[in-house]
Amino acid sequence: MTDPVERNPAVADPWQDLRRITRARIALGHAGASQPTRAHLEFQLAHAKARDAVHTALDGAALVDGVDRLGVPCCEVESQAPDRVTYLTRPDLGRQLSERSVGCLEKMGAGPDAPPPDLAIVLADGLSARAVQDHGLAMLERLLKVAADNHWSVAPVVIANQARVALGDDIGERLNARLLVMLIGERPGLSSPDSLGAYLTYAPRQGLHDDARNCISNIRPEGLGYGAAAFRLEALMKGSISRQLSGVSLKDDSEPMVVEEDKARIGNFLTGQ
């Protein structure tokens, strides 16, 4: 007769307390060498939530209200992808403005004779509408302050639906802006369904590629905080305007700053540094 199996046949890891300093799925323990039941099902739940998040639509009206409250003119546009499923399989459509949107931007633009605005800001759904819904206005407010501090003129704010990153270049070109900052929802991760990305392009125009853009990723309170993101963006924007370029030739050479909303730092405990 074999012995009865023990109450919990999974083995715990003795470094479980380190889970408090990271969102990474460390110290999961093991059953045999495989993941224990609890860790496995927690993963499945997170994946199910992320899958559901991908298909949530942007609440454009709420964003428009928020931009209005900041006292800035804005307009809402959409790409040529009519729905989420088309958006996911046809990125080419997500990079082109609908006919209605082109007309809307023409009305909002200052016209060819007016001095070009220094900065255009776009708030876009991308792959996580939740990201821009939750963090877009807070970042917009900080960017407007950066612009005011540097005496940069700002074009009307644009809210974009079913948008890919490159849609911003088209918008920036139509607004005749010197510099574009595109705030867009990044692909949702298991632990971060609300991660916002910021893409910066000097002299935005249709047909540019990734090498013409600078990116700051993972903007959200648990990731790169609003203040730190705005600080880095300001450094990039200043460099971009003074050197009249963006992309791989523009490096972020600012000193690393202490991230204000960061977790407790205990350094590299592996070497005691």
Binding site: W15, R25, L88, V248
Partner: protein, 469 residues
């Protein structure tokens, strides 16, 4: 050229050139549909495969998929072709080449000698008329061994890249994931971080950190902080401890330009890495990432199918004697590889094509949350690539990359595969794991009881003490 004709299903099919023949012969994937180059029906696809099977391999030396004058990758492929190495198979058609690859005559030694004689278009072509089992069987016979601080790619060995990414480049968070990975026997391919930003000072700090861990614990592995190659060159000039030189690459000159690189720039990065002379077992130090769909994503595909272009990216990698090449197969999203079925086949094709070209292939077995795929699909690809003899896979805490927002393979997944197939870590790393009492001396199972290895005990206690206060 008058193109290619084929009678199939009672119809005559015509393919206007090699590029469209290859595209039509490719198994269905969303990226080729997006590009408008895929076969318009299942029958057309098989007709193209039949026409391709009858094409002599030597034809690939006469007709370029992307013109020689327009593309430096084509020039690299043509100018570096080794006719003597190609001679043993020069009389074969693509179909007969498949038959020969499956035969016992095509052993590891024969395949290694052949590699410099093969072009990426030849290996892409034969892969298109192979089933999954063919890709596995031939993949397993090909061995590509490389070395830096340990030896990769030996028979019966599979390494892991420990990827301890942090959404804020937070050093303590990274250290926690490094510890977790090492104690689960991962990290022999490299400890490689994708940093959040391209800030020089932050990246320099991460390089110093990984170097200090590797030195303090005397780990036979190498580090990499994955930033643009121009930044890595600059960091080398600033005296930072760079082991592996990273760059994402693609299969056309225009796609590489969209990544901000050229063949000359890659050479500069390679030479900068060599100048440090940091390898102890060898000097393979380039680390490339590739993936089907990247050229189309950059609007630089020239009407070619994404799998052929991926094989051309492997030919780019081959020029720089890379330590490892990683096809990040499911990262790009559903517009290129729609679901688990497409991701699985693409991963096996990339492994097969890369190995046949003589490239040390590994695979980031992965998917995003907007693709129609899940953990079961990844388990299938993981198990198949393990049987196919993949050089390395990824190791990420709980398979969840909290910075790049996608799912890859976990530390546990590597142990599953090692236990299932008797695969072992690289020899130097395996000895280190035993010396540190992390793993049994057996076939790579976790040490029974999982007692905390002494060398790490102090570090963990001090960290936990600081967390408590």
């Amino acid at each position: 050229m008058g193109g290619f004709s084929q009678i199939a299903g009672g119809e005559r099919w015509h393919f206007e050139d090699l590029r469209s023949l290859l595209a039509c012969a490719t198994p269905l994937r969303s990226g080729d549909c997006l590009a408008g180059v895929a076969a318009r029906s299942e029958t057309e696809r098989v007709a193209a495969q039949m026409a391709l099977a009858e094409l002599p391999l030597s034809h690939f030396l006469q007709e370029a998929v992307i013109p020689y004058e327009e593309d430096e990758v084509t020039r690299l492929i043509v100018d570096s072709h080794d006719a003597a190495a190609f001679a043993p198979v020069s009389h074969l058609t693509v179909g007969d080449f498949r038959n020969w690859l499956l035969s016992h005559q095509a052993d590891s030694q024969a395949l290694a000698s052949l590699a410099p004689g093969l072009t990426p278009e030849m290996v892409a072509a034969v892969s298109k008329i192979m089933r999954v089992q063919d890709l596995i069987l031939v993949g397993r016979k090909t061995r590509v061994e490389t070395a830096f601080r340990n030896s990769m790619g030996q028979e019966g060995r599979m390494a892991t890249r420990l990827q301890p990414n942090s959404p804020t480049d937070n050093v303590s968070e990274i250290a926690a994931s490094v510890l977790d990975g090492l104690l689960y026997g991962n990290g022999d391919a490299m400890i490689g971080i994708n940093p959040v930003s391209d800030n020089f000072a932050a990246i320099g700090d991460l390089l110093d950190m990984l170097d200090s861990v590797i030195r303090q614990y005397d780990i036979p592995t190498q580090s990499c902080v994955l930033t643009h190659i121009t930044s890595t060159i600059e960091l080398i000039e600033r005296g930072k401890p760079v082991d592996l030189v990273f760059q994402s690459i693609a299969g056309t000159e225009a796609a590489n330009r969209s990544f901000g690189v050229s063949l000359d720039l890659l050479e500069q990065g390679y030479q900068a890495g060599l100048s440090l002379n940091r390898g102890t077992r060898g000097q393979n130090l380039m680390y490339f990432e590739t993936g089907q769909g990247s050229a189309l994503s950059a609007d630089a595909h020239h009407g070619a199918d994404q799998q052929t272009l991926e094989a051309r990216a492997h030919a780019v990698a081959r020029r720089y004697n890379p330590f490892l090449v990683n096809t990040v197969v499911g990262f790009i999203g559903p517009e290129y590889l729609y679901d688990g079925k497409q991701i699985i086949r693409a991963g096996l094709e990339d492994h097969f094509c890369g190995k046949l070209l003589g490239v040390p292939m590994g695979c980031d077995i992965c998917y995003t949350n907007h693709a129609e795929a899940d953990q079961d699909d990844m388990d299938a690809l993981l198990t198949m690539l393990g049987t196919a003899g993949v050089n390395f896979i990824m190791g990420i805490p709980g398979a969840d990359d909290i910075m790049l927002n996608y799912q890859s393979t976990s530390f546990h997944d590597a142990l599953y595969l090692r236990n299932l197939l008797g695969l072992r870590p690289t020899p130097e790393f395996e000895q280190w794991l035993q010396r540190m009492a992390i793993m049994d001396s057996g076939a790579g199972a976790l040490a029974p009881g999982s007692q905390l290895p002494e060398a790490f005990g102090t570090a963990i206690e001090s960290a936990i003490g600081k967390v408590d206060t």
